[in-house]
Each structure stands twice: as structure tokens, then as C-alpha cells.
């Protein structure tokens, strides 16, 4: 449970202090004073402070800047039965996230300053992980008129996106990228060419051919990826590409980055760990958009996380009610929850097999997302906000959705044994989560 009274001082002892933003990787201590990092690095020896000091032994643990998820769905307002900002923020903290960005496809859509303000107030009340609203690109996410970016950002929004829906109109996307330059915020796009993807329920490939399900070709994503990159080149705006899933998307992003076009991209843990084969047996917990692709795509995405072509990892946490997933595959909703499994899926599938280091993991889950979305945190530098994640890199645990703090249970990882688990999450110097074993 979140600790309601903040300690004046928090001392994290003997952990592996790992902060790629300041090239730090030593066994030592981190001292937080009044919500701000006072020291991160070498062991401090005897620490005496006037006032309330809590000391936590972090031996064998990694102490890193807090994870930042730039893409999740918290379902409030509209579907509080499925998730609320409070339950989502607590689930985030339990997963090691100190901050999450909430996508605007709520009901009503978060497309104005009042709606943005509501999310911020609910998040303050929850007092767990920070929640940053993302405003809609278009009014009602209808893809027609631009929403009031300026007012939403004034109220606390950090980016704009019509996620959940693609921006079908190239002209609207162009205008959004141009207009967003005023505020220097990313325009996050759900890349999906709607006529190609229409009616599709899974990746178009050998498995869809066998199961008799309508497929979504990878080109549905790739066409929009290159469109967005070209529009970013034309406008000078910053396009952020959500949940990349294919090999060619990676190649196109690399093409854009090589030309210094302002494109950043994210990948979800499930697209790094599962393939279209997971759909076998019409498993609706493997139904998502974009769909799970092939082993070759997964391999390319992993390499892209390693070499930085993909800048960051985001969960696309998408809770659904049990009943909604308990139906015919083609009619079941897309999406899976991810906040409480992201770290372990990354450690198990990318760090343990030696594809990336823990430093890269921390960069892609903390430093890079904070930097790209211009958020506080993502660093242990002296004087920055004390948003910190402590995790046990060797903890082996079995995924039991019943124990999740999220209201969602829709995960394809249920019953799997994974490695790596957050043990303590600190937001602004306040301990918002501790793993009780």
C-alpha cells in the first residue's frame, strides 16, 4: 500500500546504482532529501540527519531512475469498472513505474483542458505513480478538427495522440505536426492504414491462413510509419510512433533517423516476446493491435531496442473486462495489460539472453522516455526529483493475474515464470510501493 506520509529522508543502501543518464554504475547508496536526490553513487558511510530518515537495504538489487511509461490506457473516465486512474497508478507503481502517460481514448475523449484537469486531480488523489495526460489530436478523436493543444498543455497534458485510432487523414497529421511545434510536444501516432487493416483480427500470415481469421498485413503499419516520417520531415514536427511491431517499420525508422528527421518510436514488451503463434486456439488474450507478428519481426525489434533505433519501451497497458475477452476471437477487444509484467518480460526476454544490458534496459524504460516526452525523472542526478525504482534482477516469480493491482486480468503471461521484479518504487521521495514477500 502507498505510504501516506512522506519521509524527509530515504537512504537506499548497498544497491547497484545504475543510471545511464549520468553514466553511473556502482555499488553504493542513494540518499533522497525532501523529495529530491541528494546523492547517488559511492557508499556514504555513516549518515545522520535531523528529522525522519528511513533506510532500505538494497543489496543484490538495482537502484535506477524510475520507469516511465509513455503509453497506457487507464479507462477513466468512462470505464471505471475496468480500470481507474487510481488502480492504474497503483499497478504502475507495483510494476516499478514512477510515471505513466494516459492515452486520451476515454469516454468522453480527453480532448479539452477540463478533461485533462480531471485526470490530474484523480491522479493526485491516488497518490501513487505520477499520471500525465495525453490530449487527443482531434476533437472526439474523430479525425476531423484539431483539438485545443495549447489549452490542454496549459492544463498539464504532455503530448497529443489519437491512439486507439489511426490518424487516417494525412492532411490532419501534417497540421498536427506543424501546430505541435508551437509547444514542442510529440505527436504520438497509432500507425495503422485503416483500409488495409479493416476487419483484421491477427497478423496476416501462416497462422491466420490456418485459423481462417482475417489478417492485418504488416504493410498496414509500415505505410503509416513512412507517411508519418515523411510528414515529420516536411513539417519539422516531432512524430512519436507507437507500438512498433514489424521488421520493415524498424528499417523505415532507421532511414528517418539517418536523415535527422524528428522521429522517435516505442515498442511494447509483448511485441518483443510473443509471436502470432500465441493466437493458436483462438486465445483472445493474445489479441492486440497491432497484432503479434512473426519470430523474424521479434528478432528485428529486439535488435532495434539494443541499437536504439527504437527509443523506448512502453506497455500499451489496455485493461478489458473478463467478459469482453471471453468471446469469439474476431469479436473480442484488442489489448492486454502490461504495467505489472513489463519489467519481468524485458529481463526474461532481452537481458537474460544477453541481448541488452541492464543499463540499456534502464535507458529504454526510464531515461529515454522521460527525455523524449520532456518529463521530470529519468535520472538520478543530484537535485532532480527522487523518482526511483528498486528492482531485484534475479527474482523469479510466477505470473498470477489474481494478485495484480490493476483491475485488468487480460494477460497472455498468466502462469508463466518470469525473472525480474520491482521491490520498491519511490515517487518524489515518497515510497509508493514495496514488495511484501
Amino acid at each position: 500500500m502507498p505510504n501516506s506520509t512522506p519521509h524527509q529522508y530515504v537512504l537506499l543502501r548497498n544497491g547497484r546504482v545504475l543510471d545511464p543518464s549520468s553514466n553511473l554504475d556502482v555499488t553504493g547508496d542513494v540518499l533522497v532529501a525532501n523529495g529530491v536526490i541528494e546523492h547517488a553513487g559511492a557508499p556514504l558511510g555513516d549518515v545522520r540527519r535531523d528529522g525522519d530518515l528511513v533506510e532500505i537495504d538494497c543489496a543484490g538489487q538495482v537502484v535506477s531512475p524510475g520507469f516511465v511509461d509513455v503509453h497506457c490506457h487507464l479507462r477513466e473516465p468512462g470505464r471505471e469498472d475496468v480500470e481507474t486512474i487510481a488502480t492504474g497508478a497503483r499497478a504502475a507503481a507495483a510494476g516499478g513505474f514512477t510515471a505513466v502517460c494516459a492515452m486520451p481514448n476515454t469516454d468522453p475523449v480527453t480532448d479539452n483542458q477540463a478533461a485533462v484537469g480531471f485526470i490530474i486531480r484523480q491522479a493526485m488523489r491516488a497518490a501513487a505513480a505520477r499520471v500525465y495526460p495525453i490530449g487527443a489530436i482531434s476533437v472526439g478523436q474523430k479525425g476531423e478538427a484539431l483539438a485545443e493543444f495549447g489549452e490542454m498543455i496549459g492544463a498539464g497534458a504532455v503530448a497529443v495522440s489519437d491512439d486507439g485510432k489511426p490518424v487516417a487523414s494525412a492532411q490532419l497529421m501534417r497540421t498536427a505536426l506543424e501546430y505541435a511545434r508551437t509547444f514542442e510536444i510529440p505527436v504520438a501516432d497509432h500507425c495503422e492504414e485503416p483500409t488495409l487493416a479493416k476487419g483484421g483480427a491477427m497478423n496476416e500470415g501462416v497462422v491466420s491462413a490456418r485459423l481462417g481469421l482475417k489478417g492485418i498485413p504488416s504493410e498496414a503499419e509500415e505505410i503509416m510509419v513512412i507517411r508519418d516520417i515523411l510528414l515529420a520531415r516536411r513539417t519539422g514536427g516531432h512524430v512519436h510512433l507507437c507500438h512498433m511491431s514489424t521488421r520493415t517499420s524498424v528499417e523505415l525508422i532507421r532511414w528517418g533517423k539517418d536523415r535527422n528527421i524528428r522521429v522517435t518510436a516505442e515498442v511494447c514488451p509483448h511485441h518483443l516476446s510473443l509471436t502470432e503463434e500465441s493466437v493458436e486456439g483462438y486465445n483472445t488474450n493474445a489479441k492486440m493491435n497491432p497484432p503479434l507478428r512473426t519470430a523474424e519481426d521479434v528478432e528485428y525489434l529486439k535488435q532495434a531496442v539494443k541499437d536504439g533505433t527504437i527509443d523506448l519501451v512502453a506497455t500499451d497497458h489496455a485493461p478489458h473486462h473478463y467478459d469482453e475477452k471471453e468471446r469469439e476471437f474476431s469479436d473480442a477487444p484488442n489489448g492486454i495489460i502490461g504495467l505489472e509484467t513489463a519489467l519481468a518480460v524485458m529481463v526474461t526476454n532481452l537481458v537474460e539472453p544477453g541481448i541488452i544490458s541492464y543499463a540499456t534496459l534502464v535507458d529504454r524504460m526510464s531515461c529515454s522516455p522521460a527525455r523524449i516526452f520532456h518529463l521530470p525523472g529519468g535520472t538520478l542526478r543530484r537535485g532532480s526529483v527522487a523518482d526511483i525504482t528498486v528492482f531485484d534482477p534475479a527474482a523469479r516469480w510466477s505470473v498470477d493475474p489474481a494478485t495484480f493491482l490493476s483491475k485488468g486480468r487480460n494477460t497472455p503471461y498468466a502462469g508463466m515464470s518470469l525473472t525480474g521484479r520491482a521491490t520498491c518504487t519511490i515517487v518524489g521521495g515518497r515510497i509508493v510501493y514495496r514488495l511484501t514477500s
Binding site: E204, G205, V206, S208, A209, R210, L211, G212, L213, K214, G215, P217, G281, Y282, D323, E326, R327, E328, F329, S330, D331
Partner: protein, 317 residues
């Protein structure tokens, strides 16, 4: 209940072994004769309750199952989607719960979603027979097609069968492909590429681009129905052009190096995928398929109800 010979359900031919397919075909043989009697009824399934749950209209398949059930003396209830709770937004899982509560012995299900029959089978104890799920499988159609081929050629092994037309939206195609391949036949498909699933070659079939090539190769053509709405969907330019390029006509068949058996799951669009003189011609076994459909379904019902294949002859009474 679990049948000793077939298991609990018949969901598709992909999961059946060649031995089980063989058993189903062999068991269908004695049941053919019942349909020729004056009183076409035996007491084999007396007391069994069967629900025909058709979420999608299909007069032919439903009537064929109903005949099979009645000839085996089962009590049947038909639930069609129109006017039933199904159309009032009742979910498949609710339907399953209700069926379970009514203590039904068997459910024959037709549904527009691929995987729907399996979905139901996993949630109820009754035996489930897939009468067509979306664009996935239609196993009894596959079996009756194989029975018809076997009647004619006296074997399935080594036969060359080409499935022609809209494979993309067909459930018959997959059941045929898996069933025939397991029995040692060679299967090819032929149709406009816009109506073939991408990666269909991964199912082990050869793809002919032109119907003339298929005709040169095949021992039998299984001609699929072209759903007329595919033209509005933009998959093909016109029915006229479809008939010219992919339609099976007598002229095209006359150039074949051998007599080709003509099959069609029906209902046919005469003058589109098949010309009338082919459908009614000497090599057409389209009506035999209908007759065999009842026998195959009787065999499926009999075996799933626990019937002993060795006693199928005696079960006729």
C-alpha cells in the same frame, strides 16, 4: 461425453488423424443404405437430445443434419438466429451456459466467427459438432467430399484434387485440404489471387494461377461458390469476367487430358463459377455429395454418441 472412437467433439479435420477420418468414412458406408429404405428410420439414437444451433442461415447443412438426426431417431431442436435470443445480443458464452443447464446431449453449431465451435466445446460437456465456423472449417462437408471421391475413384491416396474459387472466404477449403492431405491425396487451389489467403502455400497446397492449368492437372475439381457480394467488396471486377477467367465451362473441360470429376458444395451460381452443362453433365457428382452428406453426418452422430463402428451395420436394425 467422450466417445471411445472419436473423442468429445468434431471441430475440424486438422486435428483428426488419418485413422479417424478413415473410420468416419467407413462408418458412413452402412448408413448410406438407410436413406434408400421406405421407412428411413432406425432407433440408434432414441432418447438423445440434439440442438442444431445455427447462428448463421444455412438451409442445406441444417436440413442435412436434421435428416441425419431424425433417421437415427434423436430428438432435435432447431435454434436459428432470427427471432432467438441470439439476435438479442446474447453472447456465445451465455448460450453455452443455457445449453449446459438444459442437459443437451449434442450440439451442432454453425457460427460466423472462426473458432466459435471450439469456444463452445471448451465450455460445455455436450458433444459439439462444427457445422461451419467462420472461414475456418466445415468438417462434415470435407468428409462428405472425401466419401464422394472415394465412391468414384475407390481410393483417396494419390488423387489430385483442385479446389477452385474463393478460398479466402471458404471454410470448406480448409477441411478439404487437411482431410485430403491426411488421406494421401494431393491438393491444389486455383482462383484469383485476391480471393486466396496470403501464405496459403504454407498449408502444403500448390497454387494454380489459371484454371486451364488446374484442369490439366486434376482428377477432380471442387468448385466453390462465389459469394456474389465479393464483387461489391472489390475482390473481382465483375461476375462476367470471373466466369470467363475462372469459371468451369464445358469448353475448358473438353481440353482436359482425362475425365475430371466435378464437385460443388452448393448452392451453385450457374453461369458464374460453374456452367449449367458442367453442373448437370456426366462427370458431375454434385447430387451424390448431398446424399453422402446425410450418411456422413449419421456416422459422426453415431460415433460421437458412443456407437461402436464394428456394429454400425447392426445399428441399422
Amino acid at each position: 461425453m467422450n466417445s471411445p472412437h472419436l473423442g468429445k467433439d468434431l471441430l475440424g479435420l486438422e486435428e483428426l488423424t488419418a485413422a479417424k477420418i478413415q473410420l468416419l468414412l467407413d462408418t458412413a458406408e452402412p448408413f448410406k443404405e438407410i436413406s434408400l429404405r421406405a421407412i428411413k428410420k432406425v432407433p440408434t439414437l432414441r432418447g438423445a437430445t440434439i440442438v442444431n444451433l445455427f447462428f448463421e442461415p444455412s438451409t442445406r447443412t441444417r436440413i442435412s443434419f436434421e435428416f441425419a438426426e431424425k433417421r437415427l431417431s434423436a430428438d432435435t431442436v432447431n435454434v436459428a438466429s432470427a427471432g432467438s435470443s441470439v439476435s438479442k445480443g446474447e453472447t456465445l458464452v451465455d448460450t453455452a451456459r443455457n445449453l449446459e443447464a438444459m442437459k443437451i446431449d449434442m450440439v451442432v453449431v454453425r457460427h460466423a466467427a472462426s473458432g466459435a465451435a471450439r469456444f463452445l466445446a471448451q465450455r460445455i460437456e455436450s458433444n459439439v459438432i462444427n457445422a461451419g465456423d467462420g472461414t475456418h472449417e466445415h468438417p462434415t462437408q470435407g468428409l462428405l467430399d472425401m466419401l464422394t471421391l472415394r465412391d468414384h475413384f475407390k481410393r483417396l491416396e494419390g488423387l489430385r484434387v483442385c479446389i477452385c474459387g474463393d478460398v479466402l472466404h471458404s471454410r470448406v477449403a480448409r477441411s478439404n485440404i487437411w482431410g485430403l492431405q491426411k488421406m494421401g491425396a494431393e491438393v491444389a487451389i486455383c482462383g484469383p489471387r485476391s480471393l486466396l489467403p496470403n501464405h496459403v502455400e504454407s498449408l502444403g497446397v500448390h497454387v494454380f494461377r489459371r484454371i486451364e492449368e488446374a484442369i490439366e492437372w486434376a482428377d477432380a475439381l471442387n468448385i466453390l461458390r462465389l459469394q456474389l457480394e465479393r464483387m461489391q467488396g472489390g475482390y473481382i471486377p465483375s461476375l462476367r469476367e470471373y466466369n470467363r477467367v475462372f469459371g468451369v465451362t464445358r469448353e475448358k473441360l473438353e481440353r482436359a487430358p482425362r475425365d475430371i470429376l466435378i464437385m460443388h458444395p452448393g448452392p451453385m451460381n450457374r453461369g458464374v463459377e460453374i456452367d449449367s452443362d458442367v453442373a448437370d453433365g456426366p462427370h458431375s457428382v454434385i447430387l451424390d455429395q448431398v446424399t453422402n452428406g446425410v450418411a456422413v453426418r449419421m456416422a459422426v452422430l453415431y460415433l460421437l454418441a458412443g456407437g461402436n463402428p464394428a456394429l454400425a451395420e447392426a445399428a441399422k436394425g
